[in-house]
Symmetry: C2
Subunit: 226 residues, 2 copies
């Protein structure tokens, strides 16, 4: 079982937002609160970096414990150091987004569970703010970082990929346009496998394999601003 961070006040914590698709929704991994006096019963996995340890490594440790394995990516999303309460009473908490491919196993033991992000239980205020920042970052990075691919196994169907985008964007996308744009960007390559998912025509499996940038000259886009 994992070692729980000491209850002593610490200067710094790393708090992990472990996300995975669960059906048509995004799920977040929460730990049962260690402190029985805590008003909130659940909290983000968190830990205190060891002296000299890189923040990413500390976050990876915190993510690994309840998950039972390493997430496919971990990236920083922001630091909060104001008066809002943190379960470890850390002065500053740094949020990390950990992405787990769909089909993740249940968390280790009964001390952790997945929650749909739109039905989260009450959280310590600072962690609640980190969750909001992380969800915003996830959507912001969707078009510039391969986050969607990190929420899928190495081989996936284009319909699965589109579902991830729809889940993260919160709206339906047109299938033909989605595929045309994807192919034009040389981001995926087909494998020679096909998956039959019950009824209907089997789908070809693709893998994430970004190719060289073709002439990337582009004007400026102002329509994504504010």
């Amino acid at each position: 079982m994992r070692e729980r961070p000491s209850a002593r006040r610490s200067a710094l914590s790393v708090d992990v937002l472990t996300m995975t698709p669960h059906g048509a929704r995004l799920a977040l991994l929460l730990n049962r609160a260690a402190d029985p006096r805590a008003k909130e019963r659940w909290e983000l996995p968190w830990d205190v970096p060891r002296p000299g340890e890189a923040l990413d490594d500390a976050a990876m440790r915190a993510a690994r414990a309840p998950l039972g394995r390493a997430p496919s990516t971990i990236e920083q999303v922001g630091a909060i150091g104001d008066g809002r309460r943190h379960p470890g009473r850390a002065g500053v908490s740094i949020g990390f987004l950990a992405l787990v491919p769909a089909g993740a196993p249940a968390p280790v033991g009964g001390a952790s569970a997945w929650f749909p992000v739109d039905e989260l239980p009450p959280l310590p205020p600072r962690q609640r703010a980190l969750v909001d920042a992380g969800l915003t970052a996830l959507r912001t990075r969707l078009e510039i970082s391969p986050v969607a691919f990190r929420l899928l196994p190495a081989a996936f169907t284009l319909s699965q990929l589109q579902e991830i985008y729809e889940l993260l964007l919160g709206r339906r996308l047109h299938k033909a346009s989605f595929r045309r744009a994807l192919q034009a960007a040389w981001l995926v390559e087909p494998t020679d496998e096909w998956r039959s998912e019950g009824r209907g025509r089997p789908a070809q499996l693709f893998r994430f394999a970004p190719r060289k940038r073709r002439g990337g000259r582009r004007g400026v886009r102002f329509d994504a601003m504010i």
Copy 2:
């Protein structure tokens, strides 16, 4: 004169990347190193947050001291907490990007100076990494956050705005296309002032005034990824 942070080892520092356009280049504000034994003679302005003080407020203090006034924006760019050296020997350093409109006065006293970002003197390794992260963040946020407008005074010409974009993107943009996209996004509104800048036709001044979003339905763009 500003109070220099204590030389004691601290758990945390906020380090500020103060940027302003200088001619056709971006300039960064550096402080002369406090420690005479330091190999690098210059360093990013930095400070240690007071207990209970929000990180943004601490960063604003650190930015204000050498600049003599508040920057137009300050935003977090990332935290580094690995083995790389920091002048205050902080365990973790959080980088903040502070933007200053063009035409900034010279820094306060002789303890600070502007340097073009592509000709920076040697910096403490951790601060060097923060600078790189900050420049990347600046370019990444260019299309989703009004950073370019924060590098200009409240009233500006469209040519000035285009120059900022060209400076940040490192490439020339087409005038007609730039203006057409800008007008279509309802981001600026004309004032009734005109500026005569020596030779050539006088330019109308505009101000940043984002209007309501017109139907924002859009497909997914994959061409900005990786």
